[in-house]
């Protein structure tokens, strides 16, 4: 059942990204182009998404998921260098091409090489970040 829920959620997410125009790098870059002809599409997509997710997360209190014993939500609450550095680097890559992870994966559906190469490079970038995190964690553990 977990698998079915995930597949349906993925399908809905992919359809939503395509319908909303978020798989179009020009629209995304247009949103980030404050000093050009601003494209508000992404703002509407995000607002509509939040209009569903904000109440959805409120309803998790005093409930449990349909097919799981509990919710697995992130617990970290501290702002740290990793979060800030990661967000800066992600924003840089996002602004260079116009793909964030979701639209890049969804755009594989168009059968073009660009999305496939982007996703492969993205996986490589994640691998490098993971390596860095491990090295730093080890260094931190040995110094304390």
């Amino acid at each position: 059942m977990k698998n079915w829920v995930a597949l349906i959620s993925g399908l809905l997410f992919g359809v939503g990204l395509a319908v909303s125009g978020m798989t179009d790098t020009a629209k995304v870059l247009g949103f980030l182009d404050f000093f050009g002809e601003w494209d508000a599409t992404l703002a509407f997509v995000m607002a509509a998404g939040l209009a569903v997710t904000i109440p959805a997360y409120r309803l998790t209190k005093d409930h449990r998921p349909w097919f799981e014993t509990g919710f697995s939500l992130p617990k970290a609450s501290q702002l740290d260098v990793r979060l800030i550095g990661g967000a800066i680097i992600f924003g840089l890559g996002w602004g260079l091409y116009g793909y964030c992870p979701g639209p890049a994966v969804a755009a594989i559906a168009y059968g073009r090489l660009d999305a496939i190469v982007f996703v492969i490079m993205m996986a490589a970038g994640m691998y490098l970040a993971e390596k860095l995190i491990r090295v730093r964690d080890k260094a931190g553990a040995s110094s304390t």
Partner: protein, 138 residues
């Protein structure tokens, strides 16, 4: 704009479905990365993520087959830009524990300070990057 709103609502419903169904955050960078990891003791930990990613591709594919969706024009950025951007997006989302979906759509909805901060940060650097490449270098 109606497409943006319908699409955004669908994205929100997808995140709500994953949350209410299996109690998980619909953060695509994390799900994607975890789906690539070796199969653990509990194979469903990998399989649900792999199926979510599969759905993410199948969704637009179904729309294309039904002729309800036109593929957007390809970007005119070069391959070098594409590859550097992909690398940065992967590196940054892993380091910063999330992307537009995990921090933007789900994290903000949880009123997570980290996610609000991350979202403002990557939007700001995205805006700076586009401004520099479009208006100051060209």
């Amino acid at each position: 704009m109606i497409e943006a709103i319908i699409g955004g609502l669908l994205i929100g419903c997808a995140a709500a479905c994953l949350l209410w169904g299996i109690g998980r955050v619909a953060g695509i960078s994390g799900i994607f990365w975890q789906s690539l990891q070796p199969v653990s003791k509990d194979p469903t930990e990998q399989s649900w993520r792999a199926l979510f990613i599969l759905g993410l591709v199948l969704g637009p594919l179904v729309l294309l087959l039904l002729e309800w969706h036109d593929p957007p024009p390809p970007s005119d950025a070069g391959w070098g830009t594409l590859m550097v951007a992909g690398l940065l997006v992967g590196f940054g989302t892993r380091l910063g524990s999330g992307c537009t979906s995990g921090h933007g759509i789900c994290g903000i909805a949880r009123f997570s300070g980290r996610s609000v901060f991350a979202t403002l940060t990557f939007m700001a650097t995205g805006i700076v990057t586009v401004s520099l490449t479009r208006h100051f270098f060209l």
